[in-house]
């Protein structure tokens, strides 16, 4: 199946730099098993992807943070930018007759300029990918209950070996409420 073309003026954005179909997958596998490559990727993802021959489309997919798009790409689905089709709008103007002339205003139909294209990172560029169902929120969203009684954990190991040496009569001599 031919990869759909798109982008500005009908040219595929990835055209000319398209990597072999499995290059994207191979690249991610290399990141998974080679810490040096992963480190380089974390430092400069664009440069590493470019050096690995990853196409522009795949680069945008990987950087999108959109799991469904990445999964679809890895599952063999080929994605491309949506074609840059100009969307004409018909505008109807009511033209009044010249001053002094009789008659009602007449409708005149004209076309407007094309509408704006979606931004390159827009989900609208992947029409075959379902939209995310849930909005995500930031992590770290709730406070934790702090310890009410701070006891240094190193106290515990000291109790165990000495425990049998403590006389049981120590217990009744201590008021449970500190008196």
């Amino acid at each position: 199946m031919a990869e759909p073309k798109g982008g500005v003026e009908g040219k595929s954005v990835g055209e000319g730099s398209a990597a072999p179909p499995d290059e994207f997958r191979r690249f991610l596998v290399a990141l998974a098993v080679d810490p040096a490559k992963l480190g380089a990727f974390l430092k400069d993802p664009d440069e590493v992807m470019k050096a690995a021959g990853i196409s522009d489309v795949d680069r945008i997919i990987l950087k999108s943070g959109y799991p469904a798009a990445i999964h679809a790409r890895l599952s063999g689905q080929k994605l491309a930018f949506t074609p840059a089709v100009a969307i004409p709008a018909l505008v109807v103007d009511l033209v009044r007759p010249p001053e002094g002339a009789e008659g009602e205003a007449q409708p005149v139909v004209r076309t407007s300029g094309q509408w704006a294209q979606p931004a390159p990172w827009s989900v609208a560029m992947y029409p075959n990918i379902p939209l995310p169902i849930f909005p995500q929120v930031q992590p770290q969203i709730f406070p934790q209950v702090h310890p009410q009684l701070v006891i240094h954990p190193q106290i515990y190991p000291q109790i165990h070996p000495i425990f049998p040496q403590v006389h049981p009569l120590v217990y009744p001599q201590v008021s449970p409420y500190g008196g």
Partner: protein
């Protein structure tokens, strides 16, 4: 099968047939970054790699590291089939490889010992039959949850149950500690359904939670990110919303503590007395 016979026929260098063995490894939740060096080494060395992984990167990685021996066990799942039947088939397949003399590696996503019945059962039975078997730790969804939600289980404590187990087995729950309910999107359904599970039992779970927590208590649906650069799913909800919100099979429910802890002052003072007494006793012994 012929290649399996070939491998099984290898000897151990002293003429005796080589004994099979089993090592179970985890690929982590996010393959890019969670895979350990030791897991990679075992995957490469194994005669057979039996795997249960969810994401395409993990599968591609296993096939690349061990192109001859990689074999998926996910084909054993079937729509409507009880999951326990599938798990037992996985155990049987694993043991068959071990018995045939192969160094067998079972690779599971996440931590191979957390909510993975086939891995524990395979090791137990392999050892019972006299084969060497061990498990290596991996990064589990719970590890990701602690990192993504900023939870330290050492501060508030943490209880962790499989959701259906929590519902059916009268599990005692302490609302002053954190509670993690696994497989919340599968509660009450013991079969495999790729297109969504039957959650008819969810009202029972909600009823149980409302008997423990205030109705307004905020809980969090959580799902770790599988791919690099993606954010985890973190959705605040209340117990009531569990019956109306769409749930993924991969969701975990995290419930923060609803009440402060109660200090046990008598025990605290007894403990202090014990320590003071021990110091006195040790001082007397020295003197």
């Amino acid at each position: 099968m012929s290649s399996e016979r070939d491998k099984a026929s290898k000897d151990d260098g002293r003429g005796a047939p080589r004994r099979g063995s089993l090592v179970v490894v985890g690929t982590g939740i996010r393959t890019v970054g969670h895979l350990t060096m030791e897991a990679v080494a075992w995957i490469k060395q194994a005669d057979k790699v039996l795997y249960v992984v969810g994401d395409p990167i993990a599968e591609a990685m296993l096939k690349e590291l061990n192109p001859q021996g990689a074999e998926s066990l996910t084909v054993l799942y079937a729509e409507g089939k009880p999951r326990i039947d599938t798990y037992n088939q996985m155990v049987e397949r694993t043991l068959a490889c071990v018995r045939s003399g192969m160094l067998t590696c079972m690779a599971c996503y996440g931590h191979p010992g957390v909510f993975v019945y086939p891995s524990h059962e395979s090791i137990r039975r392999a050892r019972a039959e006299g084969y060497a078997a061990r498990m290596l730790p991996g990064i589990s969804a719970e590890d990701c949850l602690f990192a993504d939600l900023g939870i330290d289980p050492g501060i508030s404590g943490c209880q962790s149950f499989e959701a259906t187990d929590f519902l059916l087995n009268s599990r005692a729950c302490d609302p002053t500690s954190s509670l993690v309910l696994w497989q919340i999107g599968v509660v009450g359904d013991a079969t495999f359904k790729p297109m969504g599970y039957d959650l008819s039992a969810m009202p029972l779970l909600v009823e149980r939670l409302l008997s423990i927590y205030p109705a307004t208590h905020t809980m969090y649906l959580y799902e770790a990110a599988v791919f690099h650069g993606c954010e985890p799913v973190i959705r605040p909800i209340t117990a009531h919303q569990l019956t109306t919100e769409p749930l993924s099979a991969g969701y975990t429910l995290y419930i923060p503590p609803a009440y402060p802890r109660t200090s046990d002052l008598p025990t605290y003072y007894r403990m202090k007395a014990l320590i003071a007494g021990a110091k006195v006793a040790s001082g007397a012994a020295i003197g």
